[in-house]
Amino acid sequence: MTAERPAIEVNDLTVAYRDRPALWDIDLEVPSGVLMAIVGPNGAGKTTLIKAILGLVRPAAGQVQIHGRPYEENRRLVAYVPQRGSVDWDFPTNVLDVVMMGRYGALGWFRRPGRRERELAMAALEQVGMAAFADRQISQLSGGQQQRVFLARALVQDAQVYLMDEPFQGVDARTERAIVALLQELRASGRTVLVVHHDLQTVPEYFDWVMLLNVRRIASGPVDEVFTDRNLRLTYGGRVPFIAAVAPQGTGVGGDGRVGDGSPGPGRLAGEAGVAAAKRTADGSER
């Protein structure tokens, strides 16, 4: 491993679906050992960027290097957590089996997982607090549990670089905190973590680096340098009332009466609803 090279280097990356560019001439350098959020409105190309780094979509131009080498050569250094909704959770298998899939890359073609893989998978499940669910059929998991299983599957790869596509999507606050703690542990042990993230509010709290993306790279770097009002406006085209989102809670952004929101705790604050409303605006209109 070449630690002196950046964990991820993207040069002049352009990805187009037909003639519509999804990513336009992206340059990105992610140093080793940072926890970085990728934010941007829907359709900004966040998932496409992750997939392009992984070689899952073919770029029209540009190149990607992982620790100084093309992805194909450094595959083993990278773990990937796809969006939870991208797989069929009714697939006939159990939690342990899904986590063991994280070892398939190291096993290569034809070799079957054995006891060692089972033990590694159990350890990863332990790490995400899901060991008791090892034998559980995956269709019986809640959204947060599914996400944790996916996380365990990435942990079991024992990678240097983790690419995660919306790991907080549809998980409750407790699971979100648990996942964040895990990501910060990964960073503490020198791993590089890239997370597609939707909640602008928590960016400064969870991450030390951030990339603002809207088809082009608006900015990337340490959160306190680039996560500025100006860059956010450039990214979201003035649609995001970021001032409101970071302003003291309860400024009345959430006047839509959705305090209940279907998953209420008894003490949910009006201010939280306000933040939630700001989040929704930030997410744009697709969802």
């Binding site: 992984l54 796809p82 797989v87 069929d88 697939f91 006939p92 398939y104 890359g105 096993l107 073609w109």
Partner: protein
């Protein structure tokens, strides 16, 4: 071996050979692709026949398998243009290939055993007449050898690529990221489906192949949560349907292949209705039980809310429950009886009292569990 036994043996081998790749077709939501492939291979068989001039040539299998893979590729090509949805793409591609095959048979191959009836339904009853000879010695029906080899090929393929098939089916993106080319696995698998369809074509024709490929795995899917077990169950259901189908055809004096397909349908219907957890009957029962359980909870909460309030007498009368809670009188009666039985409520005439246990139950209901 008696002809009956030979037919049954061929039937079982065909059914199991079809059920194995069928499992992954069902899980990949590509059931319709079996339809496309099993029809389109006719063109390959005809072209193979023109080249080889002989119906028993292995060239037919090769040609047919190639047409199967071509079908998959063409469907993807049409679909990728973004102008047509995938199901429509399937519907456009395979009838085109199939119809060319039908025209070629009618025009140039009318005098050989390649008639349209046999193409659609196959004729299993003739299996014992087509013998395999090795060094002048009769070693059994040719169909048994052909299908037996294909079955072994399928077993070997799934055994060798089990991990890869599972991963690309469950999470193609991760498979790609880990370096297991999902496209390569996909085309290998589709080649297997094509080869299986060609082999089964002789025995059961191009339409019933679909039943044998899809119905047993679809039934097994409802019975188990484990991929390995689903494969085993699919094979078992296919085998049992094959034997049952043979005897049904014996009774009805009808097409064996048709009866086999019917039996796979029966097996699926039985599984659909009576599968222990996912079956329709189990689901209806569960819903009824949940409804009753929920109603008891509602009753306990209702009584607790009005306990000690001025309207308690009015709100706690059995004969008024259906008005307040909008239940039918019969359902209200059932809920009250069940609640009494569980000790949630005590009944005095028409008046209901919450027991200590019932009060605790109502309280607990407010806390999310």
């Amino acid at each position: 071996m008696s002809p009956e036994l030979e037919i049954q043996l061929v039937a079982v081998v065909v059914a199991v050979a079809c059920a194995l790749p069928g499992v992954f077709l069902v899980l990949r939501r590509m059931a319709l692709m079996s339809d496309a492939i099993s029809h389109a291979i006719l063109l390959g068989i005809v072209l193979g026949f023109f080249v080889a001039g002989d119906l028993t040539s292995p060239l037919l299998v090769v040609g047919a398998a190639a047409t199967g893979v071509l079908t998959v590729a063409l469907v993807e090509l049409v679909y990728r243009t973004g102008l047509v949805k995938e199901d429509a793409a399937i519907g456009i591609v395979f009838p085109a290939l199939f119809s060319v095959g039908v025209i070629l048979i009618a025009r140039y191959a009318g005098d050989v055993h390649l008639d349209v009836d046999a193409v659609l339904l196959g004729e299993l009853a003739f299996a014992p007449f087509d013998r395999m000879e090795v060094a002048g010695r009769d070693v059994g029906p040719r169909g048994l050898w052909v299908m037996g080899s294909i079955l072994l090929l399928n077993v070997a393929f799934i055994a060798v690529f089990f991990k890869e098939l599972k991963l690309t089916t469950f999470d193609a993106a991760l498979a790609g990221a880990l370096g297991f080319s999902p496209a390569l696995v996909h085309y290998l698998f589709m080649s297997m489906v094509s080869i299986t369809a060609v082999g089964a074509f002789d025995a059961v024709g191009s339409i019933l192949v679909i039943a044998l490929m899809i119905a047993p795995p679809a039934a097994a899917y409802l019975l188990t949560d484990d991929l390995g077990r689903m494969i085993g169950l699919s094979a078992a259901i296919g085998a049992v349907s094959a034997i049952a189908g043979f005897w049904l055809s014996f009774l009805l004096d009808a097409s064996i292949a048709g009866c086999m397909a019917t039996m796979t349908g029966v097996a699926f219907t039985a599984s659909f209705l009576f599968a222990p957890e996912r079956g329709l009957v189990a689901a209806v029962r569960r819903r009824a039980r949940q409804r009753l359980e929920f109603a008891q909870r509602m009753l306990a909460i209702h009584l607790a809310q009005h306990e000690g309030a001025p309207d308690a007498v009015e709100e706690s009368r059995v004969d008024h429950l259906h008005e307040h809670l909008r239940w039918t009188p019969e359902f209200a009666g059932r809920v009250v009886r069940e609640s009494e039985r569980r000790g949630l409520v005590r009944r005095e005439g028409e008046r209901l009292w919450l027991t200590e246990f019932g009060r605790a139950y109502a309280d607990r209901s407010f806390v999310a569990d």
